[in-house]
Amino acid sequence: MALSVADVQAGQELPGRTVHITRATLVQYAGASLDRNPIHWDERFATSVGLPDVIAHGMFTMAAAVNVVSDWVGDAGRVVDYGVRFTRPVAVPHDTGADVEVTGVVKSVDEAAKRATVELTATCNGEKVLGRALAVVALD
């Protein structure tokens, strides 16, 4: 069951979450997405090209963040439009991994079109890793 437009108002906050990322997460995403760039799993390679450590795929962070929207609206197929800017890489240290905090808020509701726009915020160590992260959902 997807959310009804009557249940959605601008300013509404979505239930947020913390996404824990380890090296295993990145290897799994590399396999599933076919993005096998070694900066995402080989620390020696990543540091040799000037990165602080292995970094998460931006597309992993983008995908994990929108789960907040899919779960809230009740059907992942209702996410009709989704865009982000990658503002800062997420370094994933071997020992600790990384935590990305994701929150979302409804920016606007188009009652005639039965669509809402959600703005997502994703931070790691207090710094934004996604910018202008907007998802449009189709409501009942």
Partner: protein
Amino acid sequence: MAVNASFAGRTYPATAPYAVGREKIREFAEAVGAVDPVHTDRDEARARGYRDVIAPPTFAVLIAQQCDRQLIVDPEAGIDFSRVVHGEQKFAHHRPITAGDEVVGELHVDTVREAGGHAMVTTRTELSTTEGERVCTATSTIVIRGGE
């Protein structure tokens, strides 16, 4: 290290069809932590009106990046892949990508810009089924970091 600005406006022919499989959707959904059963449970997907399980919202990147590769490996484009970072990504879904779809992508180079010593290339991949039904427009901006 100049990216070839004359590439703006260029279009690459459609790629070979990508067959969207139920198990690939499951694997991708698990990898990104997408727990909506619409990705894994066919009956649930059908109950919601889909033909079969549907892919998570960013799955299209898997097909779009295969199309983008045509530009990145084109020697005339002048793109040094080791200096590429992903700047921006957008998906406009015309309908969810569904298991059983055969998807082809047509790559368009929309803009090539230089700013602050870096080059920025925005590409748009129009994904459609082999029957010609549009499924997704994926827009990507890559940044090619300038040399020191």
